[in-house]
Amino acid sequence: MIARVVAGLVVLAVGGSAAGGGPPHRGLPAGTISGKVTYTGTLPKLRQIDMSKEPNCVTQHPTPVMTQDAVTGPANSVRYVVVYISAGDQGAPAATDTVHYDQKGCLYIPHVAAMQVHQPLAIFNDDPHSHNIHPLARVNAEWNKSQPKGAPPIRTSWDQPEFIPVKCNVHPWMHGYFVVLATPHSAVTDSTGEFSLAGLPPGKYTVTAWHERFGTQSQEVTIGGSESKTANFVLTARPY
């Protein structure tokens, strides 16, 4: 048990930082697109998640846990924004490392997981009770599996690009997203709202930023050689 918690933390550290996926090409000139995602407009009021139904989870959160659909950081930065190359991708090698998706304290960690088509995904249950994972896929095949306490991780992958909302039927407040993309170049912003897509061969790219509540924005960026371009996004927030 301890080993898995440590592994979970390590992954958190790696996944959390803004250096997104996408291995650089050996020797070829490779550019980087980085930037920051912020919002304007009035934020919806985050509500406290009521976990009273599951005492195991209430004890794991000394401070109240807020809903995660509009998480922001300092200076209007927006967290859990998936920034990826939506057009102009020149067929980089597929990402093969396993995406870890953890259920801890009746929450999905990370709230949003970006992955490439066919990339292996492992779902862990680190709670002292059963969860059930129900990805509400429409394009991909939908499934709904329970994971009792201590059950082996569920290993799967998706074969079509899709923004798949994930819910736990047993704990209705648990929500997350599997963002399945055709391109390996993607990054999920942390509380600083920054992202960085490295290892991009020269070419004209369309960079898209997606957020579950504030919508999607795209920008055109052209990479000459081994240069670094910035692309900032400003999403509009509505109170209700």
């Binding site: 009770h129 509400l136 201590g150």
Partner: protein, 583 residues
């Protein structure tokens, strides 16, 4: 020794093995086929109950090998909540339909009703054969739910809408599995309707000379009344299943109201009524439990006089009570729905007939006990199981008092008290009826005697075992333990877990004891000692022909009946007078 009149021409005797043993129209072969199907079904159902009981006692302990058998349902040997409910649904459906309706009614009934009335075969032999094969198809369709889509359905044997009617959004197993369940039950209804048609036509029209309705043996009375109940009950369940299938696949809204959000999707249905399914289902459901128990009444009333060596007390009263139960069984279905959102006034209306129906049941029990007065009881496996039936039926029937009144049902509905009640009456009493019937009629059906010592061991261990399994469930119910739970995570259930472990151990023990019965069945069928024509010195017609009976039951002679079935304890050289004895 038989006495009778040469019939003008016997039916042509089928020659090929296939015609004589597989696709045979002989009611005896069909009766044996039904009993074999019920045997396979009861073993399947029992294994499912073992897995469920083990999971309730020790939720986290993996069952070795189960992970490979059911990789999705029991990854690593620990079954998931949805797989537990799937096993529960299949356990309930298999036991109610393919064991308790098939064995005592279709199995023994098919074999012995024609002989009891003195006929050569059922009224419509080809339809009779078809009803078995359609039942087998229904059983295979039901079992295929294990291997198709995402597993068997999880909405229980009652399959309440909209959980059963919405489709795969309602959870794993509710996609293909639930549709297969509905199709299997619809097919089963067709089979049962054909079976009932045959039973009624044979009893009314093919009775031999002298066999008036009053002289019908008690088992045949029970099969006849059960088939009348079955005719009406299954005729209602079939359209209900058809409407459910249409709701699931054709987009109609018989049972699904508007505005349902399931798995975060607004369902494209409007206007249906979930209570409509409950009314249609339970209009069939309660008569179904009488279809399961009445043949048991008939078998016990057939067996007790034989081993008490005295006539059944009040045979006419017994038959009148059977008929009273048949009528009343159609007026009580609402007691399953006191708290279901039905108009509360109708709860009071349904509770009265439910309590009134206990009167004929009490009378029949008192008649059995009265028959024992002044008897010279002989103890064989058959008579022990018949006596066990009386004891277990008393226990099960009495717990019905609590559930028949709305005021106490407020607390006990949906708890293990209900599980204890229906298991005692259907899961144990009806099974004791089947065991008694098997030990009693095995010599006649196969021409060989069963081993009495094994039979007695089987009785004593099972009798004590079932009380250890199901009596504690009453206590769980009183403590408010809710049924159909795959795990006990609520705080108020923690102190009850030791009781669940005791029940699990008792259930595994009682289940293992059934292997004695299985071994006895197989060994006696192969190497049991030769059975005489009338080993128990009984009076009904099947004992005045050879064991096993010839193809046309009476060896070319049609029996003439001149006595009732109840002539025991008479003076003279023999203390019984057979029905076929001359005046």
């Amino acid at each position: 020794m038989t006495h009778g009149v040469a019939t003008s021409h016997a039916p042509p005797r089928p020659q090929s093995f296939l015609r004589r043993h597989v696709f045979s129209v002989d009611h005896k072969v069909i009766g044996r086929q039904y009993l074999d199907l019920a045997l396979v079904a009861v073993v399947t159902g029992m294994v499912l109950s073992w897995i469920m009981r083990f999971h309730l006692g020790w939720p986290e302990t993996p069952v070795p090998g189960l992970g490979k058998l059911a990789p999705t349902g029991a990854a690593g040997g620990v079954i998931t909540p949805e797989y537990y409910l799937a096993l529960m649904t299949m356990h309930g459906t298999i036991m109610v339909f393919f064991v308790l309706t098939t064995a005592p009614f279709a199995g023994f009934g098919n074999f012995f009703l024609p002989i009891h009335v003195g006929a050569e075969d059922m009224a419509f032999p080809r339809i009779n054969m078809m009803s078995f094969w359609v039942t087998l198809v229904a059983f295979l369709v039901l079992l295929s739910a294990f291997f198709v889509g995402d597993g068997p359905p999880l909405s229980g044997w009652t399959a309440y809408a909209p959980l059963s009617a919405v489709g795969k959004d309602a959870g794993p197993g509710q996609g293909v599995g639930q549709t297969l369940w509905a199709i299997s039950i619809a097919i089963f209804c067709v089979a049962q309707l054909l079976g009932s048609l045959n039973f009624i036509a044979t009893t009314l029209d093919l009775r031999t000379r002298g066999m008036s309705l009053a002289r019908l043996p008690f088992a045949t009375w029970a099969w006849f009344i059960t088939s009348v109940i079955g005719l009406v009950a299954f005729a209602v369940l079939m359209p209900a299943c058809i409407l459910l299938i249409l709701d699931r696949v054709a987009g109609t809204s018989f049972f699904i109201p508007a505005g349902l959000v399931i798995s975060d999707r607004l369902q494209p249905h409007a206007g249906g009524s979930p209570l409509l399914w409950q009314h249609l289902f339970w209009f069939f459901g309660h008569p179904e439990v009488y279809i399961a128990i009445l043949p048991g009444f008939g078998i016990v009333s057939q067996i007790l006089p034989v081993f008490a060596r005295k006539p059944l007390l009040g045979p006419r009263v017994f038959i009148t009570c059977l008929i009273a139960i048949a009528f009343l069984s159609y007026t009580v279905w609402g007691h399953h729905m006191f708290l279901s959102g039905m108009n509360p006034l109708s709860a009071t209306l349904f509770s009265v007939p439910t309590l009134v129906i206990t009167i004929p049941a009490t009378i029949i029990t008192l008649l059995w006990i009265g028959t024992l007065y002044g008897a010279r009881l002989r103890f064989t496996s058959a008579s022990l199981f018949a006596l066990g039936f009386v004891s277990v039926f008393v226990s099960g029937g009495i717990s019905g008092f609590f559930l028949a009144q709305p005021s106490t049902d407020i607390y006990l509905h949906g708890t293990y008290f209900v599980v204890a009640h229906f298991h005692f009456v259907m899961g144990v009493a009806a099974m004791f009826g089947i065991f008694a019937g098997t030990y009693f009629w095995f010599p006649k059906m196969f021409g060989r005697m069963m081993n009495e010592t094994l039979g007695r061991w089987h009785f004593w261990l099972t009798f004590i075992g079932v009380y250890c399994v199901f009596m504690p469930m009453h206590y769980l119910g009183l403590a408010g333990n809710v049924r159909r739970y795959s795990a006990f995570t609520d705080e108020y259930l923690q102190p009850l877990i030791p009781l669940h472990r005791f029940i699990t151990i008792a259930a595994l023990f009682t289940g293992a004891v059934q292997l004695i019965f299985l071994f006895n069945l197989i060994r006696s069928r192969l190497r049991g000692p030769k059975a005489p024509d009338n080993p128990w010195e009984a009076t009904t017609l099947e004992w005045s022909t050879s064991s096993p009976p010839p193809h046309d039951n009476f060896g070319g002679r049609q029996p003439v009946v001149s006595h009732g079935p109840n002539e025991y304890g008479s003076a003279g050289p023999r203390d019984y007078v057979m029905q076929a004895d001359p005046q």
